[in-house]
């Protein structure tokens, strides 16, 4: 049974329903129950078959369950709380440009390594920071007695 259900979950829901229609003997339902009035209201993809069904295959060898994912009834939902500070920023009296600058204050300005590499036709490695350059010992030319 479990192996059968695993097999059928690989199919899309509509194909599954068609498959069930072909295999289930609809006159021999074992149980029938309706969960929510509104959940099947607008969804016509399954021809109104949003309710869970349990039945036997035509030869009676397999018990088949039809239990599509139910939509949550809208009348039982609450609005999403608007606590996000980003949403409140839009209500600020200051110009949006200033707020944006504040948000981007720690962001590096200018092109990224990848953009630079594309710009100059190099690999990305050319643009990595090279701290050893900073600490390099100066090597000024010396006067040599031999020359």
């Amino acid at each position: 049974m479990a192996a059968f259900m695993q097999q059928v979950t690989a199919l899309s829901e509509i194909r599954l329903l068609n498959f069930l229609k072909r295999t289930i003997d609809c006159t021999r339902y074992i149980s029938y129950r309706q969960v929510s009035s509104s959940s099947s209201g607008n969804d016509n993809r399954f021809g109104g078959h949003r309710e869970p069904l349990v039945g036997l295959s035509v030869d009676g060898s397999t018990v088949i369950c039809w239990h599509p994912e139910l939509t949550f009834p809208y009348e039982h939902t609450w609005p999403v709380p608007r606590y996000d500070p980003e949403i409140r920023e839009g209500d600020s009296v200051l110009r949006v440009q200033l707020l944006k600058e504040d948000k981007m204050k720690y962001h590096q300005t200018g092109p990224t390594d990848v953009e630079l590499a594309n710009m100059f036709f190099t690999t990305k490695h050319r643009w990595y920071p090279k701290p050893e350059k900073m600490y390099r010992k100066r090597n000024p030319p010396k006067d040599r007695d031999g020359l």
């Binding site: 600020s92 009296v93 200051l94 110009r95 949006v96 200033l98 707020l99 600058e101 504040d102 204050k105």
Partner: protein, 352 residues
Amino acid sequence: MFVRSVHNCCRVCLKNSARSNAFSYFIKRLLNTKVARKLTNEEARHKRNEIFNEERARQLTFITRIEKIQVEHKGPPEDCTLIMNKGLSTPFNCAMHIGELLMNRSVLALVNGKPWDMHRPLVEDCELKFLHMKDENPILSNQAFWRSCSFILGYILETAFKNEHYVELCSFPVPNVTSGSFVYDADLKLPDWSPSAMELNCLSRVGQSLRYSDFKFERLDIDVSVALKMFEDNQFKSEQIPQIAVKSETGSTVTVYRMGDHIDISRGPLMGSTGMLSRFNVTAVHKIESPQYGPLSRVQGIAIPMSLSLHYWTYEFLMKRATKLNQAPIPTVFQAKSRSETVDNQGEEKAN
């Protein structure tokens, strides 16, 4: 056919042809009212700038012949005499001849012992000295710096808010260093607004960015009628302007300054340019009540010049101190005569 109304709040459907004539008339009326919409700060600034440019061009036409004046510079790097153009050359131009150090560090000039803006043209033979922040007695340059910072606060208030908020600047009091903050009193027309920490940071950032813009402060003496025309959109300034003019030397001039595209009345002197700012923070916005002008907002800030360095701990301590309500006199028409900076143009000796 759908027509959106002016206020963007509803849609009017014109399916019925019998009603459409009446509706189109109604819509036309609505569109006509759109022309007389609210004035924005940006438009007012644009207008002020146009008048400023026109007036400066007019004043320049009075100089028909270039006359020479002798300017004797006293002080480091060496005493010298310069021959400059009368009514055109400024102390800054003199500094350009003498050395880069003076150009960068000078906040103010002393012309015949009188404080003089760096970008104000010289008008006669004179003795010239330059003042900077590390002088033995930096009172004059320090006050010019604080006054300029108040001026900059006005710029921030005019530019930082969205266009639908028309901010009217009122005045700023005489700089008082011991009070711990510089001040601008303005009518923000936002009775319920108190800035969050993030919004104060945003306001401060406008001031901080001025350092890189390096705007110079340009001075212009204009007639009352021009000043009234310039500030006709500002109820406070148009009330103050006649009082200022009466107290001036000629009895009918008002001094205005321009920084970038921001124009305001101040008796000056102000510092050379905004490149001298280093740290700048708007620290608090307090609500005050003026008997004549009604509810106003007192915006406070603190700043440090480029030539002085300060540990961040000390600076944060000063910032905390600058959040307290500044006890400077509340702007009123009568007090304004003797105390307020933007109103009292010529009372420098009395105030200091």
